[in-house]
């Protein structure tokens, strides 16, 4: 852990936050402003990472890591790029119906890997547009506001319902809407709120109700929780929306809210890690963070006659699995708004016992100490932009409520929450 161990909680947090933010600068394309999905050579842009980057520029201004002018320039570059990008059903367009392909070329913006037009990743990108529109309120920053607003307004959420109440996870020009929908509570809360808030092509309210029919309210490991397995699903929407004290009908019925629910989910993750039913190396009350992300693709491992399998890049979850002993090293710290003690105890323990998970003060994406490589366990290569962006935002919300405060004043988010039936608190 080196000198990180000597830092106070606040100094440690800020240092890790700044390092995470620097990813978004280091891996941005100078011409388009697009940001790479990962630090790996040749990585395309993930539109979701761009959404995080746009949301993090104001944070950087506040912390003195970027000048406001620099942040505005970077933001404008991205907005201009998306405004001018190709919107059509051609297979190499950047987007269609206001949505965007999940992965696009860093330079040209053309779709890569024959990937899907992604609803959730568009929502994450659009959330970044809205942060920019709200934050850059100066008279010389009008173009930012106008472009961001136009980009949000042109998303045809109603088209994405495809004549049904529910939403698919995406669309491809080759085959139309994907069969995969949204089942159970997860990160789609942000998608629904942004879709409902649209003044142009809003989702029908029935969409949100239909999704909620798939919710599972469970008592798991002695905790009441609206279940979702991967930790990130309890965090992503909360990077933008302050769910403290606001409740939709479901949460009114449960006398809880989504913020409290994430706290419960974290408690379940910690309890699961402590019980460690499958005997994974290092798991414990201060070693947790099972979520979606990179993991080993190693061959099966025989341990005490039992076969251990490894899943590679996978959405892992607790307690139903899948779990192969891989945690996301950044995940514990990303929960800091929901409980600083647990987040910091876990993070400090991780940095002390496994310092290699943090390279240049930036957390790598996946770590599996069960898969022994003779060097303390398997570690993913490079950094992932989503991890870094989420960490920056969660730390800032913990420290200053900054993004939450900005989005409280976004009329579209306001409208979306109200149309979803949220009431109370700051709303």
């Amino acid at each position: 852990m080196g000198d990180l161990a000597q830092l106070s909680d606040e100094a440690l947090t800020i240092r890790l936050q700044q390092a995470a933010f620097s990813y978004l600068i280091d891996y941005a394309n100078a011409d388009t402003g697009l940001v790479a999905d990962t630090s790996r050579q040749g990585s395309p842009c993930s539109i979701a990472v761009v959404g995080f980057a746009l949301s993090c520029y104001p944070i950087a201004v506040r912390n003195g890591w970027l000048s406001r002018t620099d942040a505005a320039t970077r933001t404008l570059k991205v907005l201009r790029f998306f405004s001018c990008s190709t919107q059509s059903d051609a297979p190499d367009a950047t987007g269609y119906k206001g949505f965007y392909y999940h992965f696009i070329d860093m330079q040209t913006g053309k779709r890569v890997w024959q990937c899907e037009l992604s609803l959730i990743d568009t929502a994450l990108l659009v959330a970044g547009f809205l942060v920019a529109a709200c934050y850059f309120d100066g008279s010389g920053e009008r173009e930012i506001r106008e472009l961001a607003d136009a980009l949000y307004r042109r998303v045809d959420w109603r088209w994405a319902q495809n004549g049904t109440p529910g939403l698919s996870q995406g669309w491809k020009p080759e085959c139309g809407f994907l069969h995969y929908g949204w089942e159970g509570y997860n990160e789609a809360a942000l998608l629904y709120v942004l879709g409902l808030g649209s003044p142009t092509f809003p989702l029908t309210p029935a969409g949100y109700v239909t999704w909620q029919l798939t919710y599972q309210w469970e008592n798991l490991l002695d905790r009441d929780v609206l279940y979702s397995g991967p930790l990130f699903t309890h965090l992503f929407s909360h990077a933008w929306i302050d769910f403290r004290g606001i409740r939709d009908e479901f949460m009114r019925e449960k006398a809880s809210d989504y913020f409290e629910n994430t706290k419960s989910a974290i408690a379940v993750h910690r309890e699961y890690a402590e019980r460690n039913p499958y005997g994974f190396e290092a798991y414990g009350r201060d070693f947790w963070g099972v979520t979606a992300g990179d993991g080993p693709t190693a061959p099966e491992m025989l341990e005490n006659g039992k076969v251990r399998r490894f899943f590679g890049y996978m959405s892992r979850g607790v307690p139903y699995g899948p779990d192969d002993g891989t945690i996301a090293p950044w995940a514990m710290l990303a929960t800091v708004p929901f409980g600083a003690d647990a987040a910091l105890a876990g993070t400090r323990g991780l940095l002390e016992l496994h310092p290699k998970v943090c390279h240049q003060d930036r957390f790598l994406s996946g770590f599996n100490p069960t898969l022994s490589d003779g060097n303390g366990g398997w570690l993913s290569t490079g950094w992932y932009g989503l991890d870094q962006g989420l960490l920056v935002m969660m730390i800032e919300n913990h420290r200053t409520d900054m993004i939450w405060e900005i989005m409280r004043h976004c009329s579209y988010v306001h409208d979306g929450l109200q149309r979803a039936g949220f009431e109370g608190g700051w709303l």
Partner: protein, 476 residues
């Protein structure tokens, strides 16, 4: 001697027909039972019985392969004699069919007619050319494997649940179309026997009737066993090249081929209604959903009832038998029992087994019933740990704000047995509080049910404490 008119004429001698015939005869009614093939129907001859026999052999192989994890070892890799496997299956089928023989049925006074039945009028059937007059009739003709319209599949050749157990040799490569209960069971079983199995499912998950967590655990278990899984994939064509059967598939926009020596088609079942001349009896039906019945299992002809796969959405042996008894009571004893009141547990016999009873969470939410699930992971159950069978969970769904049990989902190595405890509990109207006080053997996998009930009581006590504390604070 045949008696005309019979109190009840039953068409079909599968699980529903046999149950109804024995039950009605025992109650003293005159019964005609008409079967065009063999007694026992699909369940005995081509369904539950042979499949479980094969699954048992596959699990023996699997246990041998896993022996080292238990500190045991076998001298070499397990080998398999497929002829002996199938011979065992046939012996079992013969043994069980003996319990439903002509002799066994004749004893309580059932007249059995072998031949094809068709209605001549509202109160008369013909069995081939012989008339059978009835006061009441029960249609229990079951269902048969559905056949999709896949170009080339007929020419390529495929098996169904009706013919899979007639294979003479273990296929080196088996392709299964359909990820419902039978498809999943056979995928794991034949994989365990040594076939390379590929299973194709058009939905994003297996077992569309089951909850996501259960289906995903099954999916991972099948992958662990070596089954090649193709979810979200549609078979769009089939062909045969040099004796090899090839399925043409599409996953979103990605096309692929699956090569196989045998193909098992398992995409659901369609009711057997076409040859009954139902119009003559005034009985309405459709080819997808079968005989149209009301909640009392009565068809559009008030003297004609139906039971089992020919009219129910739940196409399970136990559902067929329960509905058959109910139909007999309604038809002959003026009972007014509703099929919607039946609480039917069911199970898919994969490893782990997946069983369910009562309401699913989404069904309760669709009906605006506040529902909460108390979950115990099998890896927290001592017996599951000692057995090395700790994959899965017990979830008991309750009506929130009470301890009334609405349903349960169980994923475990013995879920087919554990779910029956839930059936008794629900039928007896036992709530979670009372259940938490029922001593269970220790250690036992069923302890998971007890632990779920105890989690409920802890949760209830904590909520009461919080409420008391809140009241005290408000009083300050």
């Amino acid at each position: 001697m045949p008696r005309n008119p019979y109190d009840i004429a039953i068409v079909g001698a599968g699980p529903a027909g046999l149950e109804a015939a024995e039950y009605a005869a025992r109650l003293g009614f005159s019964v005609a039972l008409i079967e065009r093939n063999r007694l026992g129907g699909n369940s005995l001859n081509a369904g539950s019985v042979p499949s479980k026999a094969i699954i048992r052999t596959a699990r023996v192989c699997s246990t041998m392969r896993d022996a080292e994890a238990f500190g045991a070892s076998i001298p070499s890799a397990p080998s398999l004699d497929f002829d002996k496997v199938m011979a065992r299956m046939r012996r079992i089928r013969t043994r069980i069919s003996g319990y439903h023989s002509v002799h066994e049925l004749a004893e309580p006074g059932v007249d059995i007619f072998f031949g094809s039945a068709r209605f001549e009028s509202a109160d008369t059937l013909f069995v081939d050319d012989a008339p059978v007059h009835f006061k009441k009739a029960l249609i229990a003709t079951g269902a048969r494997p559905g056949a999709p319209n896949i170009p080339g599949l007929d020419q390529t050749g495929y098996r169904t649940s009706a013919t899979i157990f007639e294979m003479a040799a273990l296929p080196t490569r088996l392709a299964i179309i359909g990820g419902g209960p039978l498809g999943c069971e056979m995928a794991q079983a034949f994989c365990g026997l040594g076939s390379h199995v590929t299973i194709v499912q058009s939905d994003p998950k297996f077992l569309s009737r089951e909850e996501r967590d259960a289906a995903e655990i099954l999916s991972r278990s099948m992958a662990r066993d070596g089954v090649d899984i193709r979810l979200n994939t549609t078979v769009v064509g089939a062909r045969r090249v040099n004796g090899i059967k090839i399925l043409e598939t599409v996953n979103n926009d990605v096309k692929g081929d699956i090569q196989a020596d045998e193909i098992l088609l398992s995409i659901g079942r369609v009711p057997n209604v076409e040859k009954l001349n139902l119009a003559a009896a005034g009985v309405t039906f459709d080819e997808d959903h079968g005989i149209k019945v009301d909640d009392f299992l009565r068809s559009t002809n008030p003297n004609v009832y139906a039971a089992g796969d020919v009219c129910l959405a739940l196409k399970f042996t136990n559902a067929a038998q329960s509905s058959a008894r109910m139909a007999v009571r309604n038809a002959l004893m003026q009972a007014q029992q509703r099929q919607s009141s039946l609480v039917i547990p069911w199970c898919t016999y994969c490893d782990p087994e997946i069983a369910h009873i009562g309401l699913h969470v989404w069904e309760a939410r669709q009906q605006s019933i506040p529902i909460k699930s108390f979950t115990v992971m099998m890896h927290d159950v001592d017996r599951a740990i000692t057995d090395g069978r700790d994959t899965g969970f017990v979830k008991i769904h309750i009506s929130e704000g009470s301890d009334r049990i609405l349903g349960a989902t169980i994923v475990s190595s013995r879920a087919s047995e554990l779910i029956n405890e839930m059936a008794v509990i629900m039928s007896a109207g036992i709530g979670m509080k009372a259940l938490a006080e029922v001593a269970h053997t220790y250690p036992a996998q069923s302890e998971a049910i007890l632990l779920a009930a105890q989690a409920y009581t802890r949760n209830f006590d904590e909520a009461a404490k919080r409420a008391a504390s809140g009241n005290a604070d408000n009083g300050k």
